[in-house]
Symmetry: C2
Subunit: 282 residues, 2 copies
């Protein structure tokens, strides 16, 4: 029943052996998870959800989820999206509510719905949005699980200016943990730095996709500018050098939250998935 | 050195044996505290802060804090205010930062400043503001520590209408856990019920002061209206009966947060403290 959508050319399984594709909208507190992706002997979001689906739907094997953003250990999500292909006959009732009944309190299913033709949580996504929270003043203890405390004062104006130097399509190899055979060319659409109403420094990042560690490495470079250790042009210099720079400290995971994944209108889903696959193969 | 400001008629200790009064602005995650007030053998916010002050200032005895809102076990605060009288000679440097260095991550000192003449955290307060959060849909796991999950759908319009029936000056004995010799007459200035941007039901309450359990008991009555167990006029009926009603279920503590304490301008502080004491004695 499980399908490896990463290598599968068919965009959706409709009419394929009675499987139906479902879209899941998810939120989780990443604190006590070793990230999204299954790892033997670790508590992961993927394993927790796949087991819950297996329990609720009484499947012989765990379901197999494909996710839009493979978050690292400690990273949170309030707008994660995944899909799963299930035999038509097993699905019924309010699946979101049934799942919530067996899930632990740190994972929540906002919605489950049959996916439109051509939908693929990973490949049909147009863009991902992440948020990073840093408090350089006193930290609200109720937000300490998703906010990093920074001991030096941050100059938000400098950080924002530095961030604009990273916008656009670039090879982000300098900010990526390399994965064999994977391109590190990405289009950074937004990288805004501002204080919110409670004076917390909030960094909003959006791209077609991010490579591994990219948001946290970029935030690490911006923090070095913000607290005066590096000049404002440094993050862009690092970028154009094109190689991983050990002077960039990857920012701690618990400040990072995947806030949204955006998809095109239904009639463009299949085309977008095709486009993404072609680009990744190139 | 400790002063019992609850019984002390002098509003501020300036010039009194070299004591200076300091105002502390505090936030805490109430999850792992047995409330504000010291209790033998329990972890309380008061004991944690008083010990921190003793450590940082090398006092012979723990400092003695007077607080604006004595929160119960599990209740949070993002706008708590307290005062403490300290010998002038011991205070110096950035006390807020020094305290933060020894405090656990679930308590935070936003600011410490010398108090204006006549300031008394408890008696000079004009009003207290509390917020209660309930999710009747899927709950954001990152907010599960300060949001109650409600299994039945809530009609926010009905809850808001019911709430208006409690506004104004009343004897709130029906909603108070009695304390010997203490008046239960209060002026409820605000009790608004609305959904926020994430569809969480948020109840905002403001009064000159609240008696023990009052906010959570009122919220309990509103929830009974919201999920259809009681008619819209019921909370006001309970109020006018004037006696504790066992049909009112006190809502769980972790949904409640003290968000602000408001004081008059400096030149009216002493007068306000005097007024409050007179009213409480009546």
């Amino acid at each position: 029943m499980a399908r490896d959508t990463d290598t599968d050319e068919a965009a959706a399984p409709t009419g394929d052996g009675g499987l139906r594709r479902f879209r899941l909208d998810l939120r989780y507190d990443g604190t006590d998870f070793s990230g999204w992706a299954r790892q033997p002997g670790r508590r992961t979001v993927q394993e927790t959800l796949e087991s819950a689906l297996q329990t609720v739907l009484r499947l012989a094997d765990p379901a197999s989820l494909t996710v839009a953003g493979r978050t690292d250990a400690g990273v949170h999500a309030i707008g994660q999206v995944a899909h799963v292909d299930l035999p038509s006959e097993v699905v019924g009732g309010d699946l979101a509510r049934r799942l919530q009944g067996v899930l632990p309190p740190d994972v929540s299913v906002r919605a489950v719905a049959e996916a439109a033709d051509g939908f693929d949580a990973r490949f049909a996504a147009l863009r991902r949005r992440y948020r990073y929270r840093v408090a350089d003043g006193s930290l609200n203890p109720l937000r300490r699980h998703d906010t990093v405390r920074w001991r030096r004062p941050l100059d938000v104006g400098l950080m924002h200016t530095a961030a604009t130097g990273l916008l656009g399509e670039h090879d982000f190899a300098a900010y990526c943990r390399p994965r064999e055979g994977a391109s590190t060319i990405r289009t950074l659409l937004q990288l805004d730095v501002a204080r919110d109403a409670e004076a917390v420094v909030v960094i909003e990042a959006a791209a077609d996709a991010f490579c591994h560690n990219q948001v946290r490495a970029m935030v690490g470079a911006l923090l070095a500018v913000g607290d005066g250790r590096r000049p404002v042009g440094w993050p862009a210099e690092v970028l154009s050098a094109g190689v991983r720079n050990s002077a960039v400290t990857v920012a701690p995971p618990h400040g990072l939250t995947l806030v949204a994944v955006e998809y095109p209108p239904d009639d463009e889903l299949a085309l977008q998935a095709q486009r993404t696959r072609r680009r990744r193969d190139a």
